[in-house]
Symmetry: C2
């Protein structure tokens, strides 16, 4: 059997806490035996939720008390510093002390990002840990790296994002020799802002990644690349526009179907098939976004994450640990950096 992976789940974070995080954790435990879960949060709340699942394998589940809750609106740095007994700080500290392998939270993105860096800490050689969600494409998914806190990142950071993203896509998502592209305002090599122009030749020269050049935003949903590299401001725009445009278009489609009696009847017939197809284009089906390059694993799920998303995020953690992603990242980042220094000298 595979190595057991220990995951802390933040039970207090997100819009659907505590119900969905607890449900997702229980379902993960029931589906796979190589998982052990710690539920971090208010003890009595968790106990009450767990009563719903009498067949839950309690021997692989432990409650970890955390009395405080970090709200989404709180300034992250201050929250992490002050609320020592919050589920986020307690969970991240367990990863830091290696009592757990991974931490999954639907809570404050800012607090998870800051806490991940400050409490868990960066792997040796990693300059900036990026947040890397999977976004749906026409026939699969792509990793968008970075959507985190590193706005105005430097070229060397983007090169590391490309490396870490490649490892993740290959070994966690299972895409062989993933195609890496940098987001640009045109397909030609001379296009780009100052950052892209500086980064492009570095990526081209980078060993061990399959760099295919620039990608225009238009070609992201079509699935032209597997690892989409950009700095966090642009990554945020892409991720948020995906969500916003998707929901606006789908509401337009629904509205269009309700225009007249003929279309209403058609809508009834079409609905089940359509639902199935659009589900594949729903970001929440693809688990959470890992914060790459830390000494442990931190995964941020959507604020509105359902039990299914939490469960997938836990499975993602198992894959991450069993595939030794952190060891691979640390080895690759430091190997390559040395080579690059050598070449310059």
């Amino acid at each position: 059997m595979s190595e057991t992976v220990r995951v802390v789940v933040d039970v207090m974070g997100g819009d659907n806490a505590p119900i969905e995080p607890v449900k997702g954790a229980v379902e993960a435990l029931m589906e796979r035996e190589d998982i052990q879960v710690f539920l971090a949060g208010q003890k009595e709340v968790i106990e009450r939720e767990l009563e719903k699942y009498p067949s839950c394998p309690r021997e692989r589940l432990e409650i970890v008390s955390a009395t405080e809750v970090i709200e989404t609106a709180e300034p992250p740095v201050m929250a992490i510093r002050k609320k020592k007994d919050s589920s986020i700080v307690v969970g991240l500290n367990m990863v830091k002390r290696q009592e757990a392998d991974a931490f999954v939270s639907s809570g404050s993105t800012g607090a998870v990002l800051v806490g991940g860096q400050v409490l868990v800490g960066r792997s040796k050689g990693v300059q900036r840990p990026p947040l890397a969600p999977l976004i749906p494409t026409k026939d699969g998914v792509a990793l968008l790296v970075d959507c985190g806190a590193n706005v105005d990142a430097r070229a060397s950071h983007l090169v590391q994002f490309a490396k870490m993203g490649s490892i993740y896509m290959e070994h966690v998502v299972g895409i062989k020799n993933p195609r890496v592209a940098i987001v640009n305002n045109g397909a030609e090599e001379e296009k780009g802002n100052a950052l892209v122009k500086e980064t492009f030749p570095l990526l081209k020269a980078c060993k061990g990644i399959n760099f295919i050049g620039s990608i225009e935003a238009r070609d992201i949903p079509a699935g032209y690349a597997d690892v989409i590299v950009c700095e966090a401001f642009v990554g945020n725009v892409i991720l948020k526009l995906y969500e916003g445009l998707g929901s606006t278009l789908i509401s337009k489609v629904k509205h269009g179907m309700m225009t007249n009696l003929r279309s209403k009847i058609g809508a009834l017939l079409v609905k089940p098939a359509l639902k199935e197809t659009l589900k594949a284009f729903d970001a929440s089906e693809h688990g959470g976004a890992p914060l790459l390059g830390l000494k442990g694993l931190v995964v941020k799920t959507h604020g509105s994450a359902s039990a299914v998303e939490i469960k997938h995020a836990i499975f993602q953690c198992a894959q991450f640990k069993q595939q030794k992603i952190n060891e691979k990242i640390e080895k690759y980042i430091n190997e390559q950096d040395t080579e690059e220094v050598d070449r310059k000298e």
Copy 2:
């Protein structure tokens, strides 16, 4: 009757040249009497196309000979310099010499952008002329400014974009007191990259615009703002992702409807109503993108522009001229700039 507006239409540019540009121009002439059109391109090609429209009011139409064609792949600066007898250079020079009020082209975006600045020239006080397409929102449109060549723009440029965009939305599109927002990676005032952090207080202090703060990309399709301010790299990402995500999602919907017999029958019933709704979300229905802040008007339509889009772009030019947008922009830009300097002193 309204003042006659003289528009040069590039007959050689775009995927559908010369058929659609000629058709669009003829339809514009037949629909409105206050429009005069110059068709720039190869004379015999245009004559042949015009034979299709015997009832075209030829007294308001003139052919302007231009023997060369600038291809989309050509480096823009070189193309503008070398191909003096191309439809783009000939058309822009007519605007420069005030023989025409406006130029409409579906040809090379780069050549139109460069040519507009170099040949037509900027209005007094305008630092960078932005390209400002209208993008569809849930119940209307928003102006995305800038999607042009000004990547890595400065804060002062963005402030001018906001001012010019406001005037355009109010007087050409007809939205009273348009809401102006800056694209940001979060709604809070402390969010943003260096450029946004520098621009935000300037926009807040700017008189004469209705600045409502930051907008996350998620809220753009929902229609939370009328003028969306960003530098061109981000603008390009937004515009291209709109196109790409829209077409991917619609192909997903179509595919979903064809899953089984039941859904296929439903699709037949739903199709007409759905087509109508999705048409409203099609960028090409909203004419072309003006290059704001020039001494004349230059409008870039999609490379794949149809006659309808060309026609709408010509109407846009008429509205622009009759509403004296350039005069309004020049007055506002220079007034405000003086005030700002005064305040600093």
